[in-house]
Symmetry: C2
Subunit: 353 residues, 2 copies
């Protein structure tokens, strides 16, 4: 089963908030509830929310009562803005929506043109959303092939957050690389950063690795430095929510500190990044918008049945950080592994030059 | 009220496992249950467990049925070993026990000598344990005076784990510095690392800061890098469980990654370390024994009432790491702030040369 898929004229998504305790698939019939689901992190992971937004736009088309192409396009534009505003950091959201709207615009001969019937556009939006989803799986497999070559038999790897099938439509980015190396018969062991505050590592990555039969141990995020310094780790693999033109990598909070510890100990650090996640319009990572979320995600923690923080405590909940390109060994894309100078080589990988 | 104190012929300690939800003081009448309480982290923090071990040894004296000095000394030796084995990393445990036993040995004229009556020794052990506790408070106040000079009005500070009154007999080490700066009228704000896995920051440091009226926000440990990189932090203060002769600092897991992020952004990083915590017998930090604790401390986490990790998940729970001296700006001791070269200057500070 895919994480995000279209069935019975609905968008269906695995509810990632309740795993690993419970497995449930939720159904969505309108684009506003899809946007809310993205905000609430029913679905998370840059490629997965890109695909979800695509299907959300398809729902917006079917929701629109307009019989005119012009009216439908206006409704789709409004829905695009709603979907793109659901989370700020991952560029895949805007990328998927803009890709569909760009093609719709070409199809209809530009804004306001009426050469194409509204229903043709409605169906086209769904088809393009489906193409984005299908391509994501294929791209992940290609990234995994490139990335798996970096992994040696016997390696211990550190992985941050969740970048597996759950973070994508299927297979995964960084975790997809690890999964492919495992399927190639390489004996690997994964130290899973639990990934505070939302614990995607302890919840989702551990759950996936359990299913794939890959050896793993969960560690608190701040334990990664210990194992790196002790010489117990051969490589680090992470995902990315947006990578700037110079190779600065925005990813789940904590990635920067992990990259520092890897660099301090000469351990290679590889973000695994579909080109849809690379934003060539941003010269460097400080331009990437960083989401701050509800402090309750930090404060709501319980241990042995008791709330951890004092009742009146305040918290800050920054969802992402930016790892500067100087700490990045190579960036795995579906077009191969990109090495420095990233300013030059990332553009080539994205544009196929 | 002190964290660790002697009353009614018993050792009394605030139960730090249940704060901030509940406040309870537990009583101990025998040294074995004191050793167990140290292992179980009823009491934690290097200076606090040193003081607890001292009083534990006093209990062992009163427990001993021996009327002969020889027999009492043998019982105290056995109890010393039990107490020293209760946790491996903090050197204060061994330091306090060895200090008392060394003085007892001088008093009794060496092993096996019987010039002094057993009851005189029993009382001496208690008096010396009380002196260690009293000195700890006085030493903390002196460290706080030295350290507070490093803090400027308006500073935002990052603090890791708990190093306050709860980690000591009273007042605190790194948090004592922050508290003194606050009492001097400096406006400061503290970003409190929650400090996984046992969350001493979110539980204990937040609780203490709340009581002192010091402005703070809890952050997940991996968020420190974000704030440091954003230029929002002026200094970092941490404690230490054992510092080697060269200034390598063993402290709560995560300290190394925090120090890396501070260093990468030119933010001063200060361990606050009573000289009782400096182990001149160890040339460097790789010689410091590092405790690994029960994986359930990582896996037992709950969020919104549900267990986070899969039921069969494995975890590693390393309690401390070592921050290399190259990442340390200065070490605050009761004898002043020590700067590099630590190999030379720490010895001077400890031996008073």
């Amino acid at each position: 089963m895919r994480t995000v898929f279209w069935e019975d004229n609905q968008l269906k998504m695995i509810d990632q908030r309740i795993l690993p305790g419970r497995f449930e698939v939720l159904s969505y019939k309108d684009h506003r509830s899809v946007a809310q689901a993205i905000t609430d992190m029913v679905v998370r992971g840059a490629p997965a929310i890109g695909a979800a937004a695509g299907f959300g736009l398809a729902l917006a088309g079917f929701e629109s009562a307009s019989s005119s192409t012009e009216g439908l396009l206006a409704d789709l534009q409004t829905a695009s803005a709603t979907l793109k505003a659901s989370r700020p950091t991952a560029v895949n959201l805007a990328w998927a929506v803009d890709r569909i709207m760009g093609k719709v615009s070409s199809l209809s001969g530009g804004s306001g043109a009426t050469e194409v019937e509204a229903d043709v556009i409605r169906n086209f939006v769904l088809e393009e959303a489906q193409r984005i989803a299908d391509e994501d799986v294929e791209i992940n497999k290609r990234m995994a092939e490139h990335g798996a070559k970096l992994i040696d038999d016997g390696d211990t790897l550190i992985h941050h957050c969740n970048t597996g099938a759950l973070a994508t439509v299927d297979w995964g980015t960084a975790l997809g690389v690890i999964r492919t190396a495992h399927e190639q018969g390489k004996k690997i062991h994964v130290l899973v950063d639990e990934t505070r505050p939302r614990l995607q590592g302890a919840r989702l990555t551990a759950w996936e690795l359990e299913q794939y039969g890959i050896s793993y141990e969960i560690i608190s995020d701040n334990t990664a430095g210990y194992f790196l310094k002790a010489g117990k780790v051969q490589k680090c693999f992470v995902g990315s929510d947006r990578t700037a033109a110079n190779g600065d990598v925005a990813n789940k909070i904590g990635t920067y500190m992990l990259a520092l510890a890897a660099h301090d100990n000469g351990v290679p650090f590889y973000p695994v990044v579909p080109t849809s996640t690379i934003d060539l319009s941003l010269a460097h990572g400080d331009l990437i918008p960083i989401e701050e979320r509800n402090p309750q995600e930090v404060l709501g923690l319980e241990f042995m049945g008791e709330r951890v923080a004092p009742q009146n405590a305040k918290a800050r909940n920054i969802a992402f950080d930016v790892t500067p390109n100087r700490l990045v060994t190579g960036i795995v894309t579906e077009n191969g592994v990109v090495y420095p100078p990233f300013e030059v080589n990332l553009k080539k990988a994205v544009l196929g030059e």
